[in-house]
């Protein structure tokens, strides 16, 4: 049956042993992150997500959100849980201490986030959106606005949203129509319709702060004429107390495939008061600056659901008795052997495990690089980390959300017919995971971002921060016999990735369709190589400088890593063939032939 066990051990291993945090040595925020402190955080997070959030996951899915006369009601138990989580500070881990937050780095907070998402993705969305809004206000708003809004956001009293999409535009935000008319007091009068607004309306908090992209009357056309505003659901008076309603209404909620307990709203602004956040016409710039962390967050959703699905699948594969092992009876005391004796079931389970643990390690590593990009005292280090994160963000978002779908689907498969039955809980993960490949920039858009923006940036400079360390790692372990089973496949796939990169750089310049046709396969190849690199780094460390985890933990890592290198990584070969076949096989069929 659906089960959730928080991956506290794996997270502790990654943070305490695997991650090399030397880049931020001497930085006060990081020096505080001792295992004593962080282990306690992870253990507490494990407990509360297992006991408070996971039990609300399936019931929330069944009950969903409802709307009545513009008022949205969340599933039973959500409001109480929200309050409990907020009071315990789980919603403000990365917020600055001066605003009442925990001031934790991302590599710690993202590990906690994973557990929150794993246990109840819909619930986690309400908390995550507030953090997104906090970041925008904290980075770009005036002190006056910060004073007005930040404390109550951090405490969980008020929540936040991001209002980008409109009925006629999603990916192409240059087409936005929502109007912002300047008023005499310096504020703006906002009118327009937004759709697909997560947490746009709900009963969890007394007020909701909408961050809205809109256009002023004489703004330039397209993406360069968009500004960012904060628009509260209920106005706030000069004392900081709630005043009259601000003409923000919810005209409906979407009926979705998954994340049913998360309210996805259509929001109408009618002459609502709004305040400019950041510079006029620079709204997209603000969005871009927050984009890396927002997209990494979605990648973690893919990882998180993969993990929960794996938890359920393992329990079931050990309990469910069906057939006998091919090599003879393993459990003569039972009517049949458990599913886990069957190679094909094992194949699925270890695939799920290898992807999930690889994704978690990748997430830890990339989240740390994100911290370096924000916090390092060395400007060059900050820049390099920022470029590395910018390069890998589309890979991470797409590859991990693809994995989320692959793994949750396998989780159903392990259950056979019972996986398809709602009551068993496994199919919810697939439905919930499906959105991750779509929102925050579809995975197709991520692939285009990778080949169209990140690859050519500064003549390929971003690539250097990934390829050079990997190349040095291969050189370092070239003669290492213990590592050769890992290093050889990594080297092979790395060469494929190099060749594909040069192929796209060369061909894509002459014909952008070539780059476009290669993009998705290339991104997946990139993801596989990045994950293989991370697996190899884990292996290298375990083989040479093992820590205090039980031996079987390390042994499992080595075996799972080897499976990844031998069974999953070789897909880079077929991906390379796809890429090298060029764009003709995609583009030559005429539009009217479809």
């Amino acid at each position: 049956m659906a089960t959730f066990k928080a991956p506290v051990d794996d997270i502790k291993y990654l943070i305490n042993e695997f991650l090399d945090t030397s880049e931020l040595n001497g930085n006060p925020m990081f020096d505080d992150m001792t295992p004593d402190l962080t282990d306690a955080i992870f253990e507490e997070a494990g407990k509360i997500t297992e006991t408070l959030l996971f039990p609300l996951n399936r019931s929330g899915d069944e009950q969903g959100c409802s709307i009545d006369n513009g008022k949205v009601t969340t599933p039973d138990g959500f409001k109480e849980a929200y309050q409990e989580m907020s009071e315990a500070g789980w919603g403000n881990l990365t917020c600055k201490t001066e605003h009442g937050g925990q001031g934790l780095p991302h590599y710690i907070a993202n590990a906690v986030d994973e557990m929150m998402i794993s246990s109840n993705m819909s619930f986690s969305i309400y908390m995550g959106l507030t953090i997104g809004a906090y970041n925008a206000v904290e980075k770009f708003a005036t002190d006056e606005l910060k004073q007005k809004f930040l404390l109550n956001m951090v405490s969980g009293k008020w929540s936040g949203t991001m209002c980008l999409t409109e009925p006629h535009c999603g990916t192409d935000l240059g087409l936005i129509r929502t109007k912002a008319l300047p008023l005499e007091d310096g504020s703006y009068d906002i009118t327009g319709s937004k759709i697909f607004i997560s947490a746009g309306e709900h009963d969890l908090t007394e007020n909701i702060l909408h961050l809205v992209l809109a256009r002023t009357p004489d703004a330039p056309d397209g993406i360069k004429g968009i500004s960012l505003f904060i628009v509260p659901k209920i106005n706030i008076d000069s004392e900081g107390s709630l005043a009259e309603a601000n003409h923000v209404s919810c005209s409906g909620i979407e009926h979705k495939m998954g994340i049913k307990a998360s309210s996805t709203c259509s929001i109408e602004f009618e002459n609502s008061n709004g305040y400019l956040v950041g510079e006029l016409n620079k709204g997209m710039k603000a969005m871009f600056i927050m984009m890396n962390s927002a997209r990494i967050h979605v990648g973690i959703q893919g990882l998180a659901l993969a993990h929960t699905s794996y938890c359920g699948a393992v329990v079931y594969a050990k309990e469910r008795l069906q057939g006998r092992a091919l090599t003879g009876i393993k459990h003569p005391d039972k009517v049949a052997d458990p599913l886990i004796v069957h190679p094909n079931v094992r194949r699925m389970l270890i695939t799920m495990k290898a992807y999930t643990e690889g994704a978690r390690a990748l997430s830890t590593w990339l989240s740390f690089k994100l911290d370096v990009s924000y916090q390092s005292n060395n400007p060059q280090q900050r820049q390099q980390a920022d470029e590395l994160v910018s390069l890998l963000t589309p890979v991470f978002k797409s590859f991990l959300t693809d994995i989320g779908e692959t793994v949750t689907s396998m989780g159903i498969q392990v259950y056979g017919g019972h996986g398809y039955i709602r009551e068993n809980g496994m199919e919810q993960y697939l439905r919930d995971a499906r959105i991750c490949r779509i929102y925050e920039g579809t995975n197709g858009i991520q692939a285009l971002d990778l080949v169209g923006r990140k690859l050519p940036a500064h003549m390929g400079r971003y690539l250097r921060h990934f390829f050079h360390p990997l190349s040095a790692f291969l050189e370092q372990h070239a003669e290492d016999k213990k590592m050769s089973a890992y290093i050889q496949p990594l080297a092979k796939s790395f060469t494929r990735l190099q060749n594909a990169t040069l192929f796209i750089a060369q061909r894509g310049l002459a014909n952008p369709d070539e780059a476009g046709a290669a993009a998705s396969d290339y991104l997946k190849m990139f993801g596989l190589v990045a994950m293989a690199y991370i697996w190899s780094k884990m292996v290298a460390q375990i083989l040479h400088d093992k820590g205090d985890m039980p031996d079987s933990f390390y042994d499992a890592k080595l075996k799972t890593g080897l499976f990844f290198m031998q069974r999953l990584l070789p897909e880079t070969g077929s991906l390379l063939s796809n890429i090298m076949s060029g764009s003709d096989n995609i583009m030559s069929l005429g539009e009217n032939q479809f």
Binding site: M459, R464, H468, S471, Q498, N499
Partner: protein, 774 residues
């Protein structure tokens, strides 16, 4: 008769510039000017003009030693020496009385049959000769040079009814072959050809800019685009010429042109321009012009003037809809686009083209002469009639008709036709009668552009082609972006090396791009380096080395024929040729250190070999090694073919063509001359001193690094070069062949390309076009 010695009278900017070009041609030239009142040094004007020539930028002399060909003198003491020269050029101020006085003095001393010419741009020949004896008029012409005389290729020659044909022929031949000029014979009409049309175009554009309220930046981008000079445009050009000259040019044209001439409508100097001149804003030579560089903020900021207010503001890149590539690339769309830009472009271009067409037969009866003049004298990529062909003759006529503009007879005669055509294997152009006239090239002119009209390439890929230029000679043309050497070009060299032994006799490397080659395409190498594709990069280096080595040792003569820049990998292609025939304006050098690399396609090896085997070298290997080291480590680029010989980028036996149009013919002749008894170069074997030499070379660099003239990383690069040139870890008994040196080149290259600082340099250069000092 041939011209061996020349006198130039008038040592101003033009006179001394003309004298310099004659000196560049290796001829003796006497430069005379007046004796200033109370001057101690009676030759002071001419002497200081020569001093200025030595410092001129861009350089007027192709080699400093050419200054020795110029003798300074004055019109009082040295007048008699005019008796010794074959050609006397008068370049004094534009006053008829002074000119005629001078002519009388000249005529009294010059030798019979010597040629006299005036560089006047405003006085008709008929006026100059009025009242002078026939014996003088017979030998008098106008030779109108453009400024600066070394670089501007147009020379307008005007002869009168009395001028002897032999004088015309002798002078044309000399100016074409020796001075490298594109000679255009003009009628004796005001402004001749180029300035007549050019001044009309500039005035029209200036007045239309103001009429339509465009900015100077917008007007320049728009006005230059159809002509193929979008970077300068009209205002940039006037700044270059000198704004204060405009009233003079206008004045002389207004006074001498027929009162019905359309020029008069455009001959207005706007008040803002008058004010600019009065305040010293006369263009680049003054405080600035329509553009100026403001350095007050410590940075150089380009500013442009607002023609309404006369105030300067930071130049802004024009963002007119009509300038979007989708529109501006299509001339018909561009000229009919519905915005101020389209309106302006059409107004200026239609008036200029109609004016040009209306000047036939007044200023000349051959449209090609007019196109050529505008291309050589105003740097247009297309002449007026070529432009009409590009726009479409009938479309142009229809649009003129629809806007009620009158259609000149020549244009009417072109209806349904084109001004140029290729017919029966001949280039032809339209005449006023509506018939076509065949265009022939002079002997000794061979152009790839002509060959392309007549045949298909023998081989072709995306970046290079092989053309059969007759007599068994193939021409390898680069046509990649900026003629950068890339894998396709290398493949085409391999192909040439493959096919020539069976079907052809010799190879010429030549193209008609504005530069022979700016170097190897390092964008791809940078990308490969960013993804740590080291083996692929080494393979790229090796492949270039192999190709150039095969070119060098091929069993047929190879002649490199550069014009313009031949840098880095482009220079290396030349160093592997049997001989070079270079255009005089060739800028050759190994500039790899600028991007943090060293020449590794055999360039370091060839420079070392050239200096080591130089018969004139001093004893011991060190002077030769040091010289190669110095040239490469400082990225020396020769500023002319003559200088390239001094640096051994070219050898003493290599040839120089003064005239760009004669380059291919001369190169082909050189290749054919090498055929008889051709043997490939002997295999290279050198002994090199090893680590001690490396230390010595580094010592020199250290002082530059310490004094801040070079960065520490410059020192690292230089050390890698020193490693190659000293033979690395060797001793004096060991023999080094070509492959050993190539291995060292690769080793150094791979060391440097893995360095972050090199990658930053490459990236910076590719992104900004400027070097990075790190």
């Amino acid at each position: 008769m041939s011209i061996e010695s020349v006198a130039v009278i008038g040592a101003g900017v033009m006179g001394s510039g003309i004298a310099a070009q004659i000196a560049n041609a290796g001829k003796k030239v006497l430069l005379l000017d007046i004796v200033p009142k109370d001057a101690e040094n009676r030759n002071v004007i001419a002497q200081s003009a020569i001093q200025k020539l030595l410092k001129a930028k861009p350089s007027a002399l192709m080699h400093k030693r050419n200054a020795k060909n110029i003798t300074a003198g004055n019109l009082e003491d040295n007048l008699n020496q005019l008796a010794d020269v074959d050609w006397i050029i008068e370049v004094i101020i534009e006053r008829l009385d002074l000119k005629q006085d001078l002519y009388k003095k000249i005529d009294a001393v010059r030798k019979p049959g010597s040629i006299v010419s005036s560089n006047t741009s405003t006085l008709p020949l008929a006026v100059l000769t009025a009242g002078l004896p026939d014996s003088f008029s017979n030998d008098l012409l106008i030779t109108h040079f453009f400024n600066p005389p070394r670089y501007m290729r147009l020379l307008e020659i005007v002869s009168g009814p009395k001028t002897q044909q032999q004088a015309i022929d002798t002078l044309s031949h000399f100016c074409d072959h020796e001075l490298g000029k594109g000679v255009v014979h003009c009628n004796d009409t005001p402004g001749f050809i180029a300035n007549r049309i050019g001044a009309y175009w500039m005035q029209t554009a200036m007045l239309d800019t103001m009429r339509l309220g465009l900015s100077v930046d917008e007007a320049d981008t728009l006005s230059g685009k159809p002509m193929g000079i979008p970077k300068t445009g009209v205002f940039g050009l006037i700044d270059l010429v000198g704004i204060d000259l405009m009233p003079h040019i206008l004045d002389s044209l207004v006074h001498s042109l027929d009162k019905n001439d359309a020029f008069h409508e455009q001959a207005i100097i706007p008040d803002v321009v008058t004010k600019m001149i009065a305040e010293g804003y006369t263009g680049r030579k003054g405080k600035g012009g329509f553009y100026r560089i403001n350095k007050t903020s410590g940075k150089k900021v380009k500013e442009s003037i607002n023609l309404d207010t006369g105030e300067y503001a930071t130049s802004v890149k024009p963002s007119l809809e009509s300038l979007k590539p989708a529109i501006a690339k299509d001339l018909q769309k561009f000229l009919s686009f519905d915005d101020k830009g389209g309106e302006f472009a059409w107004s200026v271009l239609s008036k200029t083209l109609c004016y040009s067409a209306g000047l036939i037969p007044e200023i000349g009866d051959n449209i090609e002469a007019i196109d050529r003049s505008m291309k050589l004298g105003y740097n247009w990529t297309y002449g007026p009639f070529e432009l009409i062909d590009k726009i479409g003759v009938d479309w142009f006529i229809d649009k003129l008709a629809s806007t009620q503009l009158s259609i000149p007879p020549l244009l009417a005669a072109a209806k349904g036709k084109t001004f140029y055509r290729f017919h029966d294997g001949q280039r032809q152009c339209l005449t006023l009668s509506g018939d076509y006239q065949t265009l022939t090239r002079e002997d000794g002119i061979l152009l790839l552009s002509d060959i392309k009209l007549q045949q298909q390439p023998v081989k072709k890929n995306a970046s290079a082609s092989l053309w059969d230029i007759g007599d068994g000679v193939l021409c390898l043309e680069f046509h990649s972006k900026m003629n950068a050497i890339d894998p396709d070009i290398l493949a085409m060299i391999d192909t040439a090396v493959d096919i020539i032994p069976n079907d052809y006799k010799a190879l010429v490397l030549y193209n008609e791009g504005s530069n022979y080659s700016v170097g190897a395409n390092i964008g791809l190498a940078l990308f490969a380096a960013n993804v740590a594709a080291w083996p692929q990069i080494e393979a790229m280096v090796k492949s270039g080395q192999d190709t150039y080595k095969a070119l060098k040792h091929a069993h047929f003569p190879v002649v490199g024929a550069p014009a313009g820049m031949a840098l880095g990998g482009g220079c290396e292609s030349l160093l592997h040729c049997d001989a070079i025939q270079a255009h005089a304006e060739s800028y050759i050098g190994l500039v790899e250190v600028g991007v943090g690399l060293i020449p590794a396609w055999g360039g370091s090896k060839e420079m070392l070999s050239r200096w080591m085997t130089n018969p004139k070298r001093a004893k011991g290997p060190m002077p030769a090694i040091s010289k190669a080291f110095e040239l490469i480590s400082t990225a020396t680029v020769s500023t002319s073919a003559q200088e390239a010989k001094g640096d051994l980028f070219m050898m003493p036996t290599d040839g120089i063509s003064m005239n760009r149009e004669r380059l291919l013919f001369d190169a082909k002749a050189k290749a054919l001359a090498l055929l008889d008894g051709y043997t490939p170069p002997v295999k290279l074997e050198l002994t090199l001193p090893g680590p001690t030499a490396r230390t010595a070379l580094n010592l020199a660099v250290t002082s530059f690094v310490q004094s801040g003239k070079a960065t520490a990383y410059d020192g690292t690069i230089a050390d890698q070069l020193a490693m190659i040139l000293s033979g690395d870890d060797t001793d004096i008994d060991e023999l080094h062949d070509e492959d050993d040196l190539l291995t060292l080149e690769r080793k150094a290259f791979m060391t440097l390309i893995k360095n972050e600082k090199t990658l930053s340099r490459v990236q910076h250069t590719l992104e900004t076009g400027k070097p990075l000092r790190n």
